[in-house]
């Protein structure tokens, strides 16, 4: 029987939660026995090759590309997990959420104290994904099945969750493992 597949993506995150996935250390060898990696920055697969059992999402949705990727994951994954605080509440990227987008862009490209921009343009190439009006937690865009908090979500909680799901056992997280920081 073919091994179940896992896919991962980093949206508006810092890749810290992906570092946490690598932080399971030598257990990654055990993980490879349990699963195959599909679309993921870990193997650099850009597109899905088929249906996946689990999708791990790091980061919230800050632009239209994030939304596109997230919806693609929802379409291809049986179980979708928000990993880390950015996916769950937007976190640092969401600090812009109570400032109008126009003001953010003007501060970044026109008015900021260290900005050098003689043409006075805000990048608007059509290849660039459009910024959303604010940063959205993943579960406000698609249905998310499970949440693993933390900044980053620590390796242990990711490992325990994956093993429980892949071996069809209930997930019991000890108190010390649930952290929002």
């Amino acid at each position: 029987m073919a091994k179940p597949k896992i896919a991962t993506a980093s949206l508006a995150g810092c890749f810290g939660c992906h570092m946490s996935i690598l932080d399971i250390d030598e257990r990654i060898l055990k993980l490879i026995e349990l699963v195959d990696f599909d679309k993921s920055p870990i193997n650099d697969f850009k597109e899905f090759t088929g249906r996946c059992a689990i999708g791990l999402i790091e980061g919230g949705c800050a632009n239209e590309d994030n939304v596109h990727v997230l919806r693609d994951f929802r379409k291809h994954c049986d179980i979708l997990i928000s990993v880390g605080d950015c996916a769950i509440n937007g976190d640092i990227p969401a600090l812009r959420n109570n400032i109008p987008l126009k003001e953010c862009l003007e501060e970044a490209y026109l008015n900021g104290p260290s900005v050098y921009n003689p043409e006075k343009t805000i990048p608007n190439d059509k290849e660039l994904p459009l910024c959303l009006d604010r940063v959205y937690p993943c579960h406000e865009v698609v249905k998310i099945d499970y949440f693993l908090p933390g900044c980053p979500a620590n390796a242990e909680i990711i490992w325990q969750a994956l093993v429980a799901l892949l071996t069809n056992k209930p997930l019991e997280l000890p108190y010390e493992m649930i952290k929002y920081d």
Binding site: S82, D85, I88, N89, G90, D91, I92, A94, L95, N97, N98, I99, R134, P137, H139, E140, Y146, F147, L148, P149, C151, Y175, E176, I178, K179, Y180, D181
Partner: protein, 234 residues
């Protein structure tokens, strides 16, 4: 009149003195009733509703309800757990509670309550409100993004410090903490030694220069859930 009252919490017999609240009797008996606004040294006002228990079939706040002979109190039930989770969820989405860079993380009662209640993510949509940070005082800063309107600072400043530095203004969703000056906290007579400076359950009132002193793993609620100290009395 007898000088001892007997009642039950979740079927366990508890002895109390007349005039005590359910919360005081439970604390002495080693039974933890979750709470956010209650502090033993301040006047209880039942504002956060997290300590709601069912008394003879009716919801009451344990911090304000006096004990009575034979009363039947329910505390640790699936319904009350759900009620408390909903309250804490709402507090999280109404403010900007970004634990990852908060000075109080690990020592925060709101965060610890969410851990204890097993909340992995709030179920309501986030508000992302626009709230100010007041760092005008030389020793203290006031970060309203994290305020849960528990009222501890209001009570402590008025009743213990005798200053009345803090007060509530506005109603409902617009309700907020204000300081008693024309401008900012720096223009009040608040001192870092005031009781009001050390009662905040979250990272709203902070003493400058004290952040991140305790390493991750050794903070107040890193290993043991909030309320363990009370439960260990049993």
């Amino acid at each position: 009149m007898s000088d001892q009252i007997t009642f039950t919490i979740d079927g366990v017999e508890v002895k109390a003195k007349p005039g005590q609240t359910i919360m005081q009797a439970a604390d002495e008996a080693g039974i933890y009733i979750p709470r956010l606004c209650y502090l033993p040294e301040l006047t209880a006002h039942g504002s956060c509703r997290v300590c709601t228990v069912i008394v003879n079939g009716k919801p009451q706040t344990a911090c304000t309800q006096p004990v009575a002979e034979g009363m039947i109190v329910e505390n640790d039930t699936p319904e009350l757990l759900e009620h408390r989770r909903n309250l804490v969820d709402m507090l999280f989405v109404e403010g900007n509670h970004l634990c990852m860079f908060c000075e109080r993380s690990g020592n925060c009662e709101l965060q610890a309550m969410a851990y204890r209640l097993g909340i992995l993510a709030p179920k309501y949509p986030y508000f992302y409100p626009d709230k100010p940070l007041d760092s005008t005082h030389k020793d203290i800063f006031l970060e309203l993004n994290r305020c849960i309107l528990c009222g501890r600072c209001v009570n402590a400043s008025a009743d213990i410090d005798g200053k009345g530095v803090f007060g509530f203004v506005g109603r409902s969703i617009d309700k907020k903490i204000a300081v008693n000056s024309d401008k900012n906290l720096g223009d009040t007579n608040m001192a870092v030694t005031d009781k009001a400076a050390s009662v905040c359950p979250v990272g709203s009132i902070n003493k400058k220069g004290t952040a991140f002193k305790i390493p991750y793993g050794q903070r107040l609620y890193d290993q043991k859930p909030i309320g363990s100290d009370i439960e260990n009395k049993k």
